[in-house]
């Protein structure tokens, strides 16, 4: 059997605090987009995919001491991995478990909160290091006693997809036997204002792949999966396999995607080749589909280049969760695995009319359907394009 086995997963997002909740939301077409309540921002009218748990709620759930220095991304990341731990068959993770986390902004929430406090308030200085993403990863690692290979990938919106890819490669090469991979990103004023300054946030609920789409909704999430080498699996239940992956650079623009979707095309091609599949064997695509004019067109063009006139069933789940930036690849990895396990396709919400340029129509209703192979796309600033392929264990 090709591919690296997935043996556990955990997820916190705007559509649920665990996998069962998220799965129910996906099946019922119940999105988690709202106006910001937990995030204190002046941009109150921009819809977001917010996890309705405050930092102190999560600290309580995790039973952290009062003086902890966890960032919000560390809190939701820990919560997600707690779920992963519970369904991966361990009481505690063995010491040689690796940890590769993807995040775009890590603990910037603390930097923006305390930027003006550090000078006069020594009690907040514990967050000074939170400015760099590795700090958040280490906080999560500390909670679970992970001490060996602990590292962070930060490639904007493809971060956690790249973490999954690197983890799979580490297992394939034998450098690790077991690794937790995925990512965490929380809502911040920094990212909300940043995307707002780029004028790519929608003031409505996002409409991926729609002709009248007018931008994305930001979201927050943490999602992690456990990858294990063949010899460790025994009779454990395998949730699916990571069988293909590819990363390529669009080398076109700092933020925008090229008109011909070159980076996406290359990443998808590599992933299909790595999985030793032909394009026609892809049953379903979990698209990046952010809902911006630029991404959805560029991605559609890339899909047409790969699949011609027979583009497989596809949808973007970002209308459910918002665009969770560095966590998006891992969130959608879990959605892909759920689709495989449950023989289901989750809909692309808020879609009305197909894009004039490509005429592609995503799946807009929940469907039951045998799914053996899923392609999941994640594209980020800096031209960073990553595609992953998940397959049924059979």
């Amino acid at each position: 059997m090709r591919g690296v086995a997935v043996t556990g997963m955990g997820l916190v997002s705007a559509i649920g605090n665990n996998i069962v909740e998220a799965h129910t939301s996906l099946k019922n077409g119940k999105e988690g987009i709202s106006l910001p309540e937990i995030l204190k921002t002046g941009l109150k009218d921009l819809p977001v995919g917010e996890i309705k748990l405050s930092n102190s709620d999560i600290s309580n759930i995790l039973q952290l001491p009062d003086d902890h220095s966890y960032t919000r991304a560390a809190l939701i990341g820990t919560l997600a991995i707690k779920e992963l731990l519970s369904n991966s068959g361990f009481d505690n993770f063995p010491e040689d478990t690796g940890f590769i986390s993807g995040t775009s902004i890590g603990g910037i929430d603390k930097t923006e909160e305390h930027f003006h406090n550090y000078k006069d308030h020594p009690e907040y200085r514990k967050y000074i290091q939170a400015q760099h993403p590795g700090f958040t990863t280490e906080k999560i690692a500390e909670y679970f006693g992970l001490k060996e290979v602990v590292t962070t990938i930060s490639t904007a919106c493809s971060s956690s997809a790249n973490a999954i890819m690197m983890g799979a490669r580490m297992i394939e090469s034998g450098k690790l036997k077991r690794v937790i991979v995925g990512g965490s990103d929380c809502l911040t004023k920094f990212t909300l204002n940043g995307f707002n300054s780029l004028k790519i946030l929608s003031d409505q609920k996002s409409k991926p792949f729609d002709n009248d789409r007018n931008g994305l909704n930001l979201g927050e999430a943490a999602a992690y999966i456990m990858l294990e080498a063949r010899e460790l699996i025994g009779d454990k239940k395998i949730l699916g396999r990571v069988s293909g992956f590819g990363n390529a650079n669009d080398a076109f623009h700092q933020t925008a995607s090229s008109e011909n979707g070159e980076g996406a095309y290359l990443a998808i091609s590599q992933a299909i080749k790595k999985a030793k599949l032909s394009a026609s064997e892809i049953d379903f695509i979990n698209a990046h589909g952010t809902g911006t004019r630029n991404n959805d067109l560029s991605e559609s063009v890339a899909l047409k280049r790969i699949f011609g006139d027979t583009v497989p069933d596809f949808s973007s789940t970002k209308a459910f969760t918002g665009h969770t930036l560095g966590a998006a690849g891992a969130v959608e990895a879990i959605f892909s695995l759920l689709a495989i396990q449950n023989a289901e396709i989750y809909p692309n919400l808020n879609f009305n009319s197909e894009m004039a340029e490509t005429g592609l129509v995503p799946v807009t209703e929940f469907q039951k359907k045998e799914i053996r192979t899923v392609l999941s796309n994640s594209f980020g600033f800096g031209g960073n394009c990553t595609s992953l392929i998940f397959q049924k264990d059979e």
């Binding site: 300054s197 780029l198 004028k199 623009h253 700092q254 933020t255 925008a256």
Partner: protein, 85 residues
């Protein structure tokens, strides 16, 4: 050359970090993008901010920028007609 033209050139040089450039080196009808001054789409976003900040003009559709930012002349014309401050 009107004051507005000069003012625009000064703010473009400053806002877009065109450090080595003098006001006198930018022609009123020179293309700001592509083969002219060589500005790119990130500069276009900066110019949108400049319009709003300095002249109270809010562009709702970034695509509008293409014509407005063609040259100093087209920018000045647009500003004269639409400025709120």
């Amino acid at each position: 050359m009107s004051d507005l033209h000069t003012e625009l050139k000064k703010s473009i040089i400053e806002q877009l970090n065109l450090e080595d450039m003098e006001v006198s080196e930018i022609e009123n009808d020179e293309h700001l993008f592509g083969d002219g001054l060589g500005l790119d789409s990130i500069d276009a976003l900066e110019l949108i901010v400049l319009l709003e900040k300095d002249y109270g003009i809010k562009l709702t559709d970034p695509n509008q920028g293409k014509e407005i930012f063609n040259s100093i002349n087209t920018m000045a014309d647009f500003i004269e007609k639409n400025r709120t401050r």
